[in-house]
Symmetry: C2
Subunit: 373 residues, 2 copies
């Protein structure tokens, strides 16, 4: 389609791309729903029943806009985290907060550093504001803090992205390593720590909050462990002047009223979070077991998904993935070598994993036929 | 608060402003809730019970992201409107869609035209992307299509904003006038017709859809007549290349799953929409009657609110507004002269309007004491 001639030069230069195609598009083209939805790292164990109840009760008052200051949720998070609410910004999912952050910091030609194969939506935002993205490779299937810092110094980056635990590999660094990285952030740069999966990680993986530290902003979400991906609630934790700067450009009335109320109830139900963590741990183990039984190896994971090394190249992993998808198992895979020798399987219910366990041997057999060694 | 030094020059130049302060902030400072919430043009008559039911049923599946293509809602709207879905973009409320549109078209210094005192959130987006805003005055309490077009030609505007029916005055133009305006849009410019209130307007106020016309994009919402302000669902109708350009930068996974499902059910219940229209018409008449009984005059309205001319200047109207707010009646007023001789009262339940009717004489008496003629 020809572009509209009135677009800015930057907008005209961008592809009408999408970071991820949704499973619904695949379902429409297949003409049937997936049997198991294990591709988007959603939390099939769902939100707290108390959050569901709170959201149901909130529906009748959805004629009201939400509080644009997200006062109650912000203060509940502040209490939960033991920090001042001035360090917290609520947004319509971390994706939105990342977009606003990039907009605040990055103009045409500004340098940004991330890992090759890290979160595509972050890259989408950087491109969308004209930033120049520099990447360093993963190292031993983990993001490489030293290489990221070295690259940031080399290119004079204003923004550095790292997820811990990491998507799409599920790996992580310990707090000591992360604190060392924070200490090494060069002057004039900001480290964005994407902690979407922090609730699944071992406690020694997550550095203590030190929200006055102007070198780092951390983003977390209700989309993963809290089971509310469809509700779009994320939050940023950072230095107060930077957090306040979000007010310069953010969509003040963007938050969904039902979601804010649901997130508040979800946060209050930490027992449910513990339950989800247990279910996820069981599911991770089972995914690893299924991989092993099929002669594949599962990477250790601190998230609600498992990267399975298919043992060969990207073409082979892609064939395995296609075989799974065609059998009704929605999974995804990393985009970039060498991580793309893997497929990525989200934790699921026992029934979801039964379906995965049944489909994997067939998908592997098909892939071995289709992609000769 | 000192700005973060890493902000872009544009971001650093922006105030950490907010287009509207929410009623919740006032409630927190008063220490009690408003008796009547009549300030944000929300639809107190609520969404369709079928939409509430659909949203309640959707809460348990909120662990899933929403379809990023909003396929079902987009196609339902296309069917409802009798146009092709390629002309429709769904977004997290019209505010978000306006932000994306401005981002796509407007860079630093690009000229934009609107009316003095029209929608502040649009102006917020223009400032946020560095555009230069040019305004023309309202004429006889209506936006002035001829003056807007003349100003657009004078300054070489890329974007022209007009709401029909209009907020904050509630006035409107007929389709013939609007079509004449569309025909006069200069080359290289785009007319943004904000039709948030179109469902309340007389049928001859809304020009036929002609979505292939590259001169105009129209924005509508589920926040007003459909009673779903807190759900954040809006849509744009425009030429396919421009609609597709939203995909270059929009937050693809920004839509709330519960809201998409709710909007689909709300759209299907046109009987409820008719019921809301009747309730709104009754409420408008009653607000006008209350105004008249107090010696004030109500402007004719094609929306779910009524602008009441307090008969004197802005200081007086502001005193009336303060008197209402301090008596638990949340209302707002226009920002700019001469419209700011008015207060703006949203339609409410009989109980809401009883409270308004009781408070207005007292607020007026106080204002007459406080602001001598």
């Amino acid at each position: 389609m020809t572009d509209d001639p009135r677009l800015t030069p930057l907008a005209a230069s961008l592809p009408a791309t999408v970071p991820f195609v949704g499973p619904e598009a695949a379902e429409r083209s297949m003409g049937q729903p997936f049997v198991a939805r294990l591709g988007a790292n959603e939390c099939v164990f769902g939100p707290s029943p108390k959050a569901i109840d709170a959201m149901q009760r909130a529906t009748a008052e959805v004629w009201k806009y939400a509080d644009p200051e997200s006062h109650d949720l912000r203060h509940a998070l502040a209490g939960h985290l033991g920090i001042d609410a001035a360090h917290i910004m609520i947004g319509e999912g971390s994706d939105t907060l990342m977009g606003v952050l990039v907009r605040l910091l990055i103009g045409p030609g500004d340098a940004v550093v991330t890992s090759a194969g890290a979160y595509p939506t972050f890259n989408f935002h950087v491109a969308g504001f004209g930033g120049t993205l520099h990447t360093v490779p993963f190292k031993d299937d983990r993001e490489d803090p030293e290489a990221l810092i070295a690259k940031a110094k080399e290119v004079g980056a204003k923004l550095i992205y790292l997820s811990n635990p990491d998507n799409p590999m599920g790996t992580w660094h310990d707090a000591t390593t992360m604190n060392r990285m924070i200490d090494a952030v060069p002057d004039g740069a900001l480290l964005l720590m994407d902690e979407a999966y922090c609730d699944f990680a071992p406690s020694d993986a997550i550095p203590q909050l030190n929200p006055t530290d102007s070198r780092v902003i951390r983003m977390r979400t209700f989309s993963k462990a809290y089971g509310m991906a469809g509700a779009r609630v994320g939050y940023a934790i950072g230095p107060a002047p930077l957090i306040d700067a979000f007010n310069k450009v953010r969509n003040h009335f963007g938050m969904n009223r039902i979601s804010q109320i649901g997130a508040l109830a979800a946060l209050a139900d930490q027992d449910w979070l513990s339950h989800v963590r247990s279910e996820v741990a069981i599911s991770r183990d089972r995914i690893a077991g299924i991989a092993t039984r099929n002669g594949l190896s599962a990477l250790p994971s601190a998230t609600n998904f498992v990267a399975i090394d298919c043992g060969r190249d990207a073409a082979f992993a892609k064939a395995v993935l296609s075989g799974l998808v065609s059998r009704g198992i929605f999974v995804r895979m990393p985009f970039v070598a060498p991580q793309n020798r893997c497929i990525r399987v989200s934790c699921g219910t026992p029934a979801d994993l039964d379906a995965f366990a049944a489909a994997l041997p067939e998908a592997l057999a098909d892939a071995r036929n289709a992609v000769p060694t």
